[in-house]
Amino acid sequence: MHDRIDAILSSYGRDRANLIPILQSVQAELGYLSEEAMLRIADYLGVPESQVYGVASFYAQFRFTPTGRNRIMVCRGTACHVRGAPRILDEIQQVLNIREGETTSDMEYTLETVACIGCCALSPCMMINREVYAKLTPTKVREVFSKGGQEQ
């Protein structure tokens, strides 16, 4: 893990303005921000550890625990909301038996919500990894998960 973090760090200058891009690259590599990773980043940039954590915890994008193999992102945008997104989220929570922000115990899925994926005309929708599922109904949700709707 050290090497992977160090390889990322060395591609950036030791400039405070690079903190967020570094956090993003490290998370892209590891899937989340481990304590160790944040300590090394702090050390590299010469920024107090508390500030690294302070910045990371401010932004919704950053996670501090490992995520499941597949990321489900349910849109909570307005268009999706008025076309039934709350029912979609309820249904997924019911089917996978996890709440928003949680990961299934087999580490298969992590459930998140996002503000508008930009497919409002096809609402309600969700993304599983990079695939968008549009015009959902609770029944469709069940079909997706009974087929193991993950990486294609």
Binding site: I20, F62, R76, G77, T78, A134
Partner: protein, 620 residues
């Protein structure tokens, strides 16, 4: 290469394309197209072409904005106008190849319209159809027609002539041109763009910076995303002009991480600009040097606010700070900085390309030009539209949008996202411009326009927006952090039937305190959706206090039941219910155990329409 050389190459390539001896097939593969299955359509087209051994060019383009009809495919055969087809799936794609390409049957039933010279029997002209006729396509002129990954296409259609023109003008002249055009910021507040530039130009301090705000956080809005995906250079050209005018050497684009394709397109466009000498040292030999950095947002709505955005670029927590000083005098790293929205910059390119008078041809007295909107929600033809400012809401919702889905009753149209408001039917004839929308209690905002019908509960909508702003509050100001929380609690009580008399008045009181005591626009406008729904839909609040949700949305106030004489005992709902709340033998009337039911509505969804035995009721 000189700019003239680049233009020549671009024109040659564009001409070769328009006079192509083989058919040209364009597929819209922006995010909306992809989510509707455009990638599978491209694959199907390739396969069919190969199988039939017929030559054709496939080109991936951005989004025309007819999102309701995605995936979209446009086919142009030599000597014919292009035909745009909607709702194309892989089977239809295959048939288009075998029928239209090989047998010359244009399959008029699937066509939305033709584009370009000439007519084809049975197919209307696309720009004369009800969805496009009221629109004026300026900002979106290239979207869906050019390859967004090819800078030559942009240049062939007049791209970068605005920059070239600007480079030959004095700074004051450029600012004057923008002033005469009457351009106001498209990011929400509508501040005159020229004035912001003037402030920055005059501000002491070096270096200066320009920033493009592509954070587009309003839920239900995707205008900026679509433009960046479909025509990224139109925005980058504006940023260059901005930088040249205020005397900056560096510019930033701050784009949401949730827009991976827009980011990809930006990186690609920037690399091409570098190749052509349109960014970097001594641009086009003019002596103007300018570089652009792309910054990825990290998922904080408040970072769309300009001072928070700057903090985020600097690598800090995205917390707004008090203004003044405004960024134009003290912005990025304390230096004079101009921040403009994506669409503002795209408008700047157009103004410099075509002139201020041309730009100001459309619009109302104080709101000039055209504006894009994401028209979504309960409307038949949802999509990305561009209209002259001053058009009425009715022309948008009923003209372009085609009315309400399923011909239900219109209830409200929401503009301005979480900072805006819900406007009722009585205001449908109001013009869409900065002042009129503000008078009505909403705002123009960045361009989200969500249509709501009789099945939308306005109390739930108010609660929805507040839930959003409350979660996104950065927590700096007490009224914003705690006031929105308190309003949220009251609204939750109301939607759960636990509302008390005086709740509405209390909401209004807290709302005023939040508006007054908040530092940034997030807090100052967060109560707007609540206030406008109280103003225009107070009866719905009262109904909730009496235990009824007229639109049958709020779960605590509704019940599902099976109508005995309609139920055929088919057991479909029984098998579908996720919690086993339905019981009944085959061919016997089923019943729902209200105690077990979680009100998911699945039974209503699956009960065959010819029986229609499940109903949702509210109140006693």
């Amino acid at each position: 290469m000189t700019f003239e050389g680049l233009q020549r190459r671009a024109r040659d390539e564009w001409q070769a394309l328009s006079e192509s001896a083989v058919p040209l097939i364009q597929v819209g593969t922006a995010t909306c197209g992809r989510s509707a299955g455009a990638s599978a359509v491209v694959d199907a087209l390739r396969e069919a072409l190969q199988r039939e051994a017929t030559p054709a060019l496939i080109m991936e383009v951005g989004c025309i904005g007819l999102c309701f009809a995605e995936p979209l495919v446009t086919i142009r055969k030599p000597g014919r106008p292009a035909v745009c087809y909607g709702h194309v799936n892989p089977e239809r794609a295959t048939q288009l190849v075998s029928e239209y390409l090989l047998r010359d049957n244009p399959l008029a039933d699937w066509a939305l319209g033709t584009v370009g010279e000439g007519r084809i029997e049975g197919i209307p002209e696309l720009f004369e159809t009800p969805v496009l006729r009221p629109q004026v396509r300026r900002i979106l002129r290239n979207c869906g027609f050019i390859d967004p990954t090819n800078i030559l296409h942009y240049v062939a259609r007049g791209g970068y002539t605005g920059l070239v023109r600007a480079l030959g003008m004095a700074r004051g002249q450029i600012i004057d041109e923008i002033r005469r055009a009457g351009l106001r910021g498209r990011g929400g507040a509508g501040f005159p763009t020229w004035r912001k530039w003037q402030f920055c130009l005059e501000a002491p301090g070096e270096p200066k910076y320009v920033v493009c705000n592509a954070d587009e956080g309003d839920p239900g809005a995707f205008m900026n995303r679509s433009l960046l995906e479909s025509d990224p250079h139109s925005v980058l050209e504006g940023l260059l002009i901005d930088g040249y005018t205020v005397g900056a050497r560096e510019g930033y684009i701050y784009c949401r991480a949730e827009y991976p394709l827009a980011l990809e397109r930006l990186h690609n466009a920037l690399a091409q600009m570098r190749e052509q000498g349109l960014v970097g040292e001594n641009i086009l030999g003019s002596g103007f040097s300018f570089d652009i950095h792309i910054k990825e947002g990290a998922g904080a709505f408040v970072c769309g606010e300009e001072t928070a955005l700057l903090a985020s670029i600097e690598g800090r927590r995205g917390m707004p700070r008090p203004r003044p000083p405004f960024p134009a005098t003290s912005g990025l790293w304390g230096k004079p900085t101009v921040i403009n929205n994506v669409e503002t910059l795209a408008s700047v390119s157009l103004i410099l390309q075509k002139g201020a008078e041309w730009f100001a041809e459309y619009g109302s007295e104080k709101s000039k030009g055209t504006k894009t909107f994401a028209l979504v929600g309960k409307v038949k033809r949802a999509g990305l539209i561009e209209v002259p400012l001053g058009i009425t809401l009715r022309d948008i919702v009923y003209g372009i949008g085609g009315g309400i889905l399923g011909d239900k009753r219109f209830k409200a149209v929401q503009t301005g996202g979480p900072s805006g408001g819900c406007l009722p039917e009585a205001l449908l004839d109001s013009p869409v411009d900065y002042e009129s929308l503000t008078t009505a209690g909403s705002i123009m905002g960045s361009g989200g326009m969500v249509v709501m019908d009789e099945d939308t509960c306005m109390v739930d909508v108010a609660r929805y927006f507040l839930d959003f702003t409350q979660k996104e509050s950065c927590g700096e100001c007490v009224p914003c952090r705690l006031g929105t929380k308190q309003m949220m609690d009251i609204l939750t009580d109301i939607t759960e039937g636990k509302g008390r008399e005086g709740d509405v008045e209390l909401l209004q009181e807290v709302a005023l305190a939040v508006k007054k005591g908040s530092l940034c626009g997030l807090g100052q406008t967060a109560p707007n959706p609540v206030l406008t729904t109280i103003r225009y839909f107070r009866d719905e609040y009262e109904a909730h206090e009496q235990g009824r949700c007229p639109s049958k949305v709020c779960k605590a106030l509704i019940r599902y039941r099976i109508v005995a004489d309609k139920c055929k005992g088919c057991q479909i709902c029984l098998r579908a219910c996720p919690v086993g709340a339905i019981s009944g033998e085959r061919r016997q009337v089923h019943t729902i155990d209200v105690g077990k039911c979680i009100r998911c509505g699945v039974c209503l969804e699956v009960c065959p329409a010819r029986f229609g035995a499940v109903e949702c009721v509210t109140g006693q």
